[in-house]
Symmetry: C2
Subunit: 239 residues, 2 copies
Amino acid sequence: MLSKPVSTRPHWRPSEAHDSAASYCLSWRLAVEANDIYAWRTVPTQCLKHVENYMTGGQYERDLNFIMEHIIDYIDTIEVSDDGLDAWILDVDDTCISNLIYYRRKRFGCDPYDPDGFKRWALRGGCPAIPAVLRLFNKLVGRGFKVFLVTGRDEATLGQATLDNLQNQGFIGYQSLILRSMAYKGQSAVKYKSEIRSQLEEGEGYRIWGNVGDQWSDLQGNCTGNRAFKLPNPMYFVP
Amino acid sequence: MLSKPVSTRPHWRPSEAHDSAASYCLSWRLAVEANDIYAWRTVPTQCLKHVENYMTGGQYERDLNFIMEHIIDYIDTIEVSDDGLDAWILDVDDTCISNLIYYRRKRFGCDPYDPDGFKRWALRGGCPAIPAVLRLFNKLVGRGFKVFLVTGRDEATLGQATLDNLQNQGFIGYQSLILRSMAYKGQSAVKYKSEIRSQLEEGEGYRIWGNVGDQWSDLQGNCTGNRAFKLPNPMYFVP
């Protein structure tokens, strides 16, 4: 007869291990969304499931819908002038249109950034609209705002595909799509996007009422607009 | 024999109702921490339990510890000069010292702001240190940073109690505690704190390497420092 083993059970319990991983990933995601960690390169591998669940389990959409309601409440307080200078800025990637299908194959950001892979994906022009942001976009256009779509995508290589993609997803009626031209090549998004906004505000006299992006680099720098709104994105960081 | 009831079970399931409240409060808290909702007055009543669990169940401390590790990694990259001009800004309430005991009686922020009640609490000088921030503070002082504690608390009424409270909790060795003097009465925290930082940077030549606060109004405006770190606080909003 086998003797009963004594004290071979580890102190470590699976449920604790699970809780501790979940807690860590909650902390990590909070720090990302509050801009406490800078220039992170990949999602920590232990947070793959956490980020996958967040992005595909419904909470990401609920968070977007929640933020969008608040943006729309704010828009309803603005009196749009008839001088045509009331402006709004929207980022493109993972703001207007979604790269979730692509990032699913990149383990939701656990794999490092792959510029060639991303370019091939973007050239297909198949990013679906983010429904909550398309609703916001239509509201803005309907209220008479001049909507500027400002993206770090390279103008020369991705300009046409991006135009087509926005059109095939229903983003129709914006004032201008501004892509990264040769002059801004290699600049950080904060610097490039600040210069674009500064041209609009100081050069052309627009009043930027709002600015929406999934990256803090969309929202920081100069001429950031009267209100800035950060959309969630735990999959990648753009400096 | 009882016949089997058909379709009397409601479509609504308790677990779904719970999930929906939890999801709402997750969205609410994310929007608060990412600065997407502005000038909110109270925590939504349906999020009382959520905020209580967050603040007292361990995740708040874990989030603070996580952010603090990243701040300390950043500090380790800074070469402190011997000119005595490397500065760091810390907010006081719910950054250095905690008002959680007080807010517990205010239903974790579900009750509206009570200026007299808060003043009575602050006058007692009994706010405990937030351990993770005290660790950061000691690290900063040890590395030779000039640490400025900048608070919106009224200098005339709360100056002595705040000095005593910081001392009794171990915040010793800072350069200066700056409270709101008559000149700044009625100003928003963004404006008041920006002016203080601007005096330090432009008036006195300090280099502000970091700025830590639980409110976005601690971190926005002018002279915001090389890096700003938002600590979680889902209990109240200071404009």
